[in-house]
């Protein structure tokens, strides 16, 4: 097996993405930001009024940190499906970059880092909102951004694997309805998993988002039990998946 041909030029690819992002970040941020805030208001305040405290947390307290994780995941997923595909197929930006000393692996890794950056950013924005609302109760919350950077790499890899396997703009609808939405709904963002039937609970253990939600909620609220296990789970999967998009995208770009 050949080793990925990676170099510092990965950072240059990230620089290009950040240069584009710098021009559009206000619009970008406000749109991505709106949705989790709506969830927080509608479910946290509206539905929350009818929900009993969950393990000593108000529903708003419970929901908020979950939305950090889901919002982070979804922004990364958009970037590494639609975003990457548009650059590849419609804008031909990838082809332009590959005429420079950048290798395919540098390029794909740059995309992964940018996807992770977006996940980090959008998750952190929700964290700041929670802080402003007085919903952050532990200094451990400072570890949320670095955790999101790692989970961002994970979700970026998952999304680029899909993009590499099913490179059609329509296929991303399926990615979101068949992969992202189930993760979003059944990973403990909205309700504790122990209310679910046993097989669904076991299934939820395989969802990466379950562990990310555990991490963000645990850190925000200072409930650290079990968190090292969740982090290990995420870390191992990230390391295992990371080489795949590098290979799959190579095949796609060089067709």
């Amino acid at each position: 097996m050949r080793l990925p041909d990676l170099s510092y030029l990965t950072w240059r690819v990230l620089e290009r993405h950040l240069a584009v992002f710098r021009r559009t970040w206000v619009v970008n941020l406000s749109f991505n930001f709106a949705e989790p805030i709506l969830y927080l208001a509608a479910l946290g305040l509206g539905l929350g009024a009818y929900v009993r405290p969950i393990a000593g947390m108000s529903y708003l307290q419970y929901l908020g940190p979950g939305l950090i994780a889901s919002s982070s995941m979804l922004s990364t997923a958009y970037e590494c499906t639609y975003g990457a595909f548009v650059r590849l197929e419609f804008q031909k930006v990838y082809h332009a970059i590959l005429a420079t000393p950048v290798s395919v692996e540098d390029l794909v890794m740059g995309d992964i880092l940018f996807g992770a950056f977006k996940g980090l950013l959008y998750g952190t924005v929700i964290l700041v909102v929670l802080l402003a609302l007085g919903l952050v109760t532990s200094p451990w919350a400072l570890l949320v951004p670095p955790v999101l950077a790692v989970t961002g790499v994970l979700f970026a890899s998952v999304s680029l694997i899909w993009t590499g396997l099913f490179p059609h703009i329509e296929s991303f609808n399926y990615f979101f309805s068949l992969v992202m939405t189930p993760l979003f709904l059944f990973s403990g963002v909205f309700f504790p998993l122990n209310g679910l039937p046993p097989f669904m609970r076991e299934l939820a253990w395989f969802s990466p988002l379950t562990h990310v939600v555990n991490l963000t909620r645990g850190l925000v609220l200072g409930r650290l039990a079990g968190l090292p296990g969740d982090f290990l789970w995420v870390f191992v999967l990230t390391a295992a998946l990371l080489p795949l998009p590098l290979r799959l995208m190579r095949r796609l770009v060089l067709k």
Binding site: S7, R16, V20, K92, V93, H95, A96, I97, T100
Partner: protein, 306 residues
């Protein structure tokens, strides 16, 4: 080192499709070298192998003395690439396009800015730095794509159909820049299916079809070798080819039937024209032979279902 690109037995297969079938050529330092041929001839594939986009599946290829695909990063550092389709970054403004691209070659700060501004001036794009690429005309976009390819002061510039789709004025503007680059010592490799372009720009060229090189050399010599000095085109002459050839006797060197028309290649067209004068053809045309005749002779016949 006088050879900038050396290919021997170079081939490329996509699955079972053979796009380039074991070709040999050499590009010398400072020349403009052309790949001429119809669509699907393998020109672009060859160029893409030279700039390390596609790995060859057969033969050997060295660029600037370095091996493809082993030393691609070092090769690409010294190359400029102008692809068939303009792939300007649409999300960056014109100047940003050059500056961001410069970073991939480790050029930054005032160096990058100075180089970018020189290039915008050279390509007649002063004052366009803050435009969005979408607002540029086709000719300007093309010039910007070439400008971007020069950001790293490449020793070798590859141009895949540099003027396809441009109007005559825009095309001429591109040609002028390419001439000047050649004067500055940049080696140029271009693909084209425009004969005037090849004749104007190329010191040497090869004519490709179906993945193979059919002929190669200096444009004038190719014309002299493959057609003779002049051509007499006989409109609607194909049906009466035998009669025409009989009358032409030894005054022609070779013939080509293209659809209904008959072409006679010769060294003295005036005599030939006189000999055919009373056969009653309404369209008899004498003109100097060009690269187009070589091209048609080598590649054209079969497209008319011969």
């Amino acid at each position: 080192m006088s050879a900038v690109v050396v290919a021997s037995g170079l081939g490329k297969e996509f699955g079972r499709v053979r796009a380039v079938a074991g070709i040999d050529f050499e590009v010398r330092a400072g020349e403009c070298f052309g790949f001429l041929g119809p669509n699907g001839a393998g020109k672009s594939t060859t160029v893409r192998m030279i700039h390390c986009f596609l790995p060859p599946t057969a033969g050997r290829l060295t660029v600037l003395g370095l091996e493809v695909p082993g030393q691609c990063r070092r090769i690409k550092r010294q190359l400029g690439v102008v692809p068939q389709e303009n792939n300007i970054d649409p999300e960056l403004k014109v100047l940003e396009n050059l500056l961001v691209y410069a970073r991939f070659f480790d050029i930054s700060g005032t160096d990058a800015l100075q180089r970018a501004q020189e290039l915008l001036a050279f390509f007649g794009l002063e004052g366009k730095g803050n435009e969005r690429p979408d607002n540029l005309s086709g000719g300007m976009k093309r010039r910007l794509t070439i400008a971007r390819a020069l950001i790293n002061k490449p020793r070798l510039l590859l141009l895949d159909e540099p003027t396809t789709g441009l109007d005559p004025q825009a095309r001429y503007q591109v040609w002028q820049r390419l001439f000047r680059l050649k004067e500055e010592g940049v080696t140029l490799i271009l693909t084209t299916h425009y004969m005037e372009e090849a004749a104007q720009l190329c010191d040497r060229l090869v004519i490709m079809d179906s993945g193979s090189i059919l002929a190669g050399g200096e444009p004038d010599r190719l014309v002299a070798e493959h057609t003779g000095r002049e051509v007499v085109a006989v409109g609607e002459g194909a049906a009466r080819a035998l009669e025409v050839e009989d009358r032409a006797g030894s005054l022609y060197r070779d013939k080509l039937v293209l659809g209904q028309d008959l072409f006679l290649y010769c060294d003295s067209g005036r005599e030939l024209l006189a000999a055919l004068g009373d056969l009653g053809f309404s369209r008899l045309l004498l003109r100097p032979a060009t690269l187009e005749d070589v091209y048609l002779r080598l590649t054209g016949g079969k497209e008319f279902g011969e």
